[in-house]
């Protein structure tokens, strides 16, 4: 091991603490309060769609647009997900189908 046992445990603790501070902050800030401030209620409504958009961009952040295959496998597979979901409205079929198409594309076609 590159670190001693106590050092490793401290590092695990440090990673966990940094992560947990960010996860607990809103719950600690608004615990016990019966009525949430109006802006927080508003954020509770707009953040889920906005953060889903953010996560989506995050997922595709390293897709090469200008080089390689220009993100074509990602584009095709995403289209499969979107269109199949519009058609069947089935969560697992769209996720499974899109992933299968993507794997075929990157392993066999591109």
């Amino acid at each position: 091991m590159i670190l001693t046992v106590p050092q490793t445990l401290i590092i695990i603790g440090a990673i966990a603490l940094g992560t947990q501070i960010s996860r607990w902050l809103p719950f600690l800030a608004f615990s016990g309060k019966k009525e949430l401030p109006p802006f927080i209620v508003f954020l509770g409504r707009v953040l889920p769609p906005a953060l889903m958009g953010m996560i989506l961009v995050y997922c595709f952040k390293s897709t090469p647009i200008l080089t390689g295959n220009h993100g074509l496998p990602e584009l095709i597979a995403s289209a499969v997900v979107i269109l199949s979901y519009r058609w069947k409205k089935n969560f697992l079929i769209s996720v499974g189908g899109g992933t299968a198409v993507y794997m075929l594309l990157v392993q066999l076609v591109f």
Binding site: R23, L25, P26, F39, L43, V46, M54, L92
Partner: protein, 232 residues
């Protein structure tokens, strides 16, 4: 607060939650196994890897921690980086204040394991009416949590033995996030926020590059929502 755990209701909650976690499992196969291999490459046994996963439970930061550990023992820097990498999680709690309110004895665990996938499922998944909410949300998080620990441990055991070509399997997470996004998009009143989320993050990615763009994106979104709170 209700202390007793109702096993029957818990099973019902896990049953309802399980289908939603399937994409997470497939999406994590590649990254979980890879993480286990990388950890064993720098000398950690699968038990250590599983301990990292169980206590830290933050996929991308755990992977980022590998080169940081190789370069030396620096817990203060590790804590700071870990906070900044997971800064977005602070925003995840806000819409879940209500949903997690009745979490009872499960609430601390639900908050402890509140990462991207769990947040996305919790704010999007349709909980069946006959399932009690705390068992449903606890089920999502507990099942995903066990996937991560098992997969990362398995990666350490299997090492380079893996012959199945799993290239592209991690697209399962992208596909899952697309579907969850579409479910928000379907409701017309969500669309301005959907567009803001994508546009602001994309702009930030172009301006700041792929390593730190989430923090300026989140702060800009907060500012936009503050000034647009009367209009959206």
């Amino acid at each position: 607060m209700e202390k007793k755990i109702d096993i029957k209701k818990m099973i019902a909650g896990f049953k309802a939650a399980f289908p939603y976690t399937i994409p997470v499992f497939f999406g994590w196969i590649f990254v979980g196994l890879t993480y286990g291999v990388l950890m064993s490459n720098i000398g950690f046994s699968p038990w250590w890897t599983m301990l990292f996963s169980a206590v830290a439970f933050c996929g991308s930061m755990q992977i980022a921690a590998i080169p940081m550990m190789v370069s030396g023992f620096d817990p203060a820097q590790m804590l700071l980086v870990s906070y900044l990498v997971n800064f977005r999680h602070t925003f995840y709690g806000v819409p879940l204040l209500e949903k997690y309110r009745d979490g009872g004895i499960f609430k601390p665990f639900m908050i402890y394991t509140l990462a991207d996938e769990q947040f996305s499922l919790a704010v999007t998944a349709k909980k069946p009416d006959d399932v009690e909410s705390k068992y449903f949300y606890f089920g999502i998080n507990a099942i995903c949590y066990s996937y991560w620990i098992i997969l990362s441990g398995l990666g350490g055991v299997l090492g380079g033995l893996l012959t199945f070509d799993s290239t592209g399997l991690d697209f399962a997470l992208n596909a899952m996030f697309i579907v969850l996004f579409l479910q928000h998009w379907e409701d017309k009143k969500n669309r301005p926020a959907c567009v803001i989320g994508i546009a602001v993050t994309l702009t930030s990615l172009i301006l700041f590059g792929s390593s730190i763009f989430l923090i300026p994106a989140l702060l800009s979104m907060l500012a936009i929502f503050w000034f647009g709170r009367e209009k959206l």
